[in-house]
C-alpha cells in the first residue's frame, strides 16, 4: 500500500533534496509550493549538506506498526546547518549518549518494513554522530 506516495518522496528521502527560494534565498526542507519565509513560489531545487545538530530527542520504546524490529530507537529534531529542522531517527549511536547540540550527519537507511517478507521496504534519511567514518 501507499507505493505511489513513497515513490514521490524518494529524492527528498534519499538525498535531502529541498529548495531555495528565488525571492528571499530561504532554504526550504521538506519542499513546499509556497515559501514559508516570504510567501513566494518555491520551485528551485537545493541539495542540503546533511549536516546538523540535535535540537531535541526522545526514545521510542513502543514502535508503531512496521517499525517494531528496530525498537527501541531514538527520534530527534535535527537542525540542519542551512536552517530548517527535520524529524528523523538517530542511528549508529553505539554507546554514545545523545545530547542536545550534538553534531550529526545524514545517512540513508531502512525506515520501515510493510507487511512482512514480501512487503515494501522504505528507505530514507537518518542521522548519526559526526566522525564515525565512511558509510
Amino acid at each position: 500500500m501507499e507505493i505511489p506516495r513513497h515513490w514521490r518522496l524518494k529524492k527528498q528521502r534519499y538525498a535531502l533534496i529541498g529548495e531555495v527560494c528565488p525571492y528571499c534565498d530561504g532554504k526550504i526542507f521538506p519542499p513546499r509550493d509556497v515559501c514559508p519565509h516570504c510567501g513566494g513560489e518555491a520551485r528551485n531545487v537545493y541539495p542540503f549538506s546533511g549536516k546538523g545538530t540535535v535540537y531535541s530527542y526522545t526514545v521510542m520504546q513502543d514502535a508503531p506498526a512496521g517499525y517494531e524490529s528496530q525498537a527501541p530507537y531514538t527520534v530527534a529534531l535535527v537542525k540542519l546547518e542551512e536552517g530548517p529542522v527535520v524529524t528523523a531517527q538517530l542511528t549508529d549511536l553505539g554507546e554514545q549518549a545523545v545530547e542536545i547540540g550534538m553534531p550529526v550527519e545524514m545517512v540513508t537507511r531502512k525506515l520501515r518494513e510493510d507487511g512482512g517478507a514480501k512487503g515494501m521496504l522504505i528507505y530514507g534519511y537518518k542521522f548519526r554522530p559526526v566522525g564515525l567514518g565512511p558509510h
Partner: protein
C-alpha cells in the same frame, strides 16, 4: 451578528463503554443536553469527531446522530480538526446562531476509541501529524510532545519534577467529578516514579484515552433571561487559528502561535484581559501542552508556567485554575470529544454547579482545545450574567 447563549449541557462518563455503541453514546449526551435546556427540538446539529471512520467504520455523523435522537430532517454535519474537532463543532454552532440563520443549534461530539485494537488507535492519532515527514520516521504522537518537552526543559532549565503540579492538580480535581476516567489522587512520589512513555513524558504526564460524548445547546442570547441560581451563560469570545502541521516547521517550536492567536481573538471580542479570566480549561493532553497553553494565552511568561503549578496557582482556589474537573489528564481525553467536555465544565463552573471543585465566584471561564501538536487551536470565553 447576534449574541449567543448556552442553555443546555450534557456529558457521559469517560470510560471503556463496552456496552454502548457510537450512536448510543453520542445520543446520551445530546438528549441530556436537550433535557437540560428543556427543548425537544433543534434546528441544526454540528458533530465533532476525529476517527469514527477507522475506529468504528462509521462516518456521516451529522445525519447518523440527528436520526438517532429523533431529529431527522434537521441540518446535520460532522467537523474534524484532530483533537480540536469538538471546539470546531462548537464554534460552528456559535456562528450559525450568531448569523441569524439557526435558532437552536446543538454542538455535539463523540469519540469511541475502545472498540478497536490500541495499535489502530495509536496509528489513527498519528494521522494528526504530517504523514510524509513525521509519521514515516517512526514517531508517535506522544514522542512529538516528548521532543517539545525535552527542549523546553533544556532551554528553561526545568527538572522533570517541576511538572508534577499539573498532574497532581488534575487528579485531585478528578476525584470529585463523577464523569472522570480517573478518580484517585496522586502524590509527587507517584509522579516522579511513574514509568516513562517517551522520555521525558511519563504516564502521569499523558492523558488517558477513552470513550465519551458531550453536547451543548445554543440559542440567541436575547431569548434567555437570568434567573436566581440560573445565570444566563453567554459566549463572549471565540477564536481559532492554525499553525504548521509538523512541529519541525514551527518558527519557534516552544511557542504555540495558534494558541496565542486564538486567545487574543477571543479576548478582543470579549473586551477582556487574561487577568479577568476566573478559570481556564486548558488542553493538558500532556503536561507540557498545559504549560505552553498557559504561556501563549498570557497567564505566564515564556518558560514560567511550571511556576504556576509549583505555587498552587492552577488549583481551584489559585490565580488561574485549570483542569477544574480533572482536565484531559484525569477526566480523560476522548480526542474528538474533549473540547466539548471542556466547555460543559466551564458552564458547570459558571452556573455554580461544580460541587467540591467550584471556583469561588466564577463569572468568566475560558476553554482552549488543541488539535495535533499545536497545529489547530480554538479558544472560547463564556460569561455568566447577573
Amino acid at each position: 451578528m447576534r449574541e449567543v447563549a448556552v442553555i443546555g449541557i450534557g456529558q457521559t462518563k469517560i470510560e471503556e463503554h463496552w456496552d454502548k455503541s457510537l450512536r448510543e453514546l453520542a445520543g446520551e449526551a445530546v438528549l441530556s443536553a436537550m433535557a437540560d435546556a428543556g427543548l425537544d427540538h433543534f434546528d441544526a446539529l454540528y458533530m465533532g469527531n476525529m476517527m469514527s471512520g477507522s475506529a468504528n467504520f462509521q462516518q456521516h455523523l451529522g445525519a447518523y446522530i440527528a436520526d438517532w435522537v429523533g431529529q431527522r430532517y434537521t441540518e446535520g454535519i460532522r467537523l474534524e480538526a484532530a483533537c480540536s474537532s469538538a471546539a470546531a463543532a462548537f464554534r460552528t454552532a456559535v456562528m450559525a446562531v450568531a448569523s441569524g440563520e439557526v435558532e437552536v443549534a446543538v454542538a455535539g461530539a463523540v469519540e469511541k476509541m475502545t472498540d478497536s485494537p490500541s495499535d489502530i488507535i495509536t496509528g489513527e492519532l498519528a494521522t494528526a501529524a504530517d504523514a510524509d515527514w513525521e509519521r514515516d520516521q517512526g514517531i508517535s504522537f506522544v514522542a512529538l510532545n516528548a521532543l517539545i518537552m525535552r527542549r523546553y526543559m533544556h532551554e528553561y532549565k526545568w527538572g522533570k519534577e517541576a511538572f508534577a503540579g499539573f498532574s497532581i492538580n488534575a487528579h485531585a480535581n478528578g476525584v470529585n467529578n463523577p464523569n472522570a476516567r480517573f478518580r484517585s489522587p496522586i502524590s509527587e512520589q507517584d509522579y516522579v516514579r511513574a514509568p516513562m512513555v517517551a522520555d521525558p513524558i511519563n504516564v502521569m504526564d499523558a492523558s488517558p484515552l477513552g470513550d465519551g460524548a458531550a453536547a451543548l445547546v445554543l440559542v440567541p442570547a436575547e431569548k434567555v433571561r437570568s434567573a436566581p441560581g440560573q445565570p444566563r451563560i453567554r459566549v463572549v469570545g471565540s477564536g481559532a487559528a492554525t499553525d504548521t502541521i509538523a512541529v519541525h516547521s514551527r518558527q519557534v517550536p516552544l511557542w504555540l502561535s495558534a494558541a496565542e492567536k486564538s486567545a487574543r481573538q477571543a479576548y478582543a471580542q470579549a473586551s477582556l484581559r487574561p487577568e479577568e479570566i476566573d478559570l481556564f480549561e486548558a488542553h493538558d493532553a500532556f503536561s507540557i501542552m498545559a504549560a505552553l497553553s498557559l504561556e501563549a494565552c498570557g497567564f505566564a511568561e515564556p518558560g514560567k508556567a511550571p511556576l504556576l503549578a509549583l505555587e498552587g496557582e492552577i488549583r481551584p482556589t489559585g490565580r488561574i485554575p485549570i483542569a477544574t474537573m480533572g482536565g484531559l489528564k484525569a477526566r480523560g481525553h476522548p480526542v474528538g470529544a474533549t473540547g466539548l467536555y471542556q466547555l460543559v465544565e466551564v458552564v458547570q463552573q459558571l452556573r455554580g454547579q461544580a460541587g467540591a471543585n467550584q471556583v469561588p465566584g466564577a463569572k468568566i471561564g475560558m476553554a482552549q482545545n488543541i488539535g495535533g501538536s499545536g497545529s489547530n487551536i480554538i479558544a472560547h470565553i463564556l460569561r455568566a450574567d447577573e
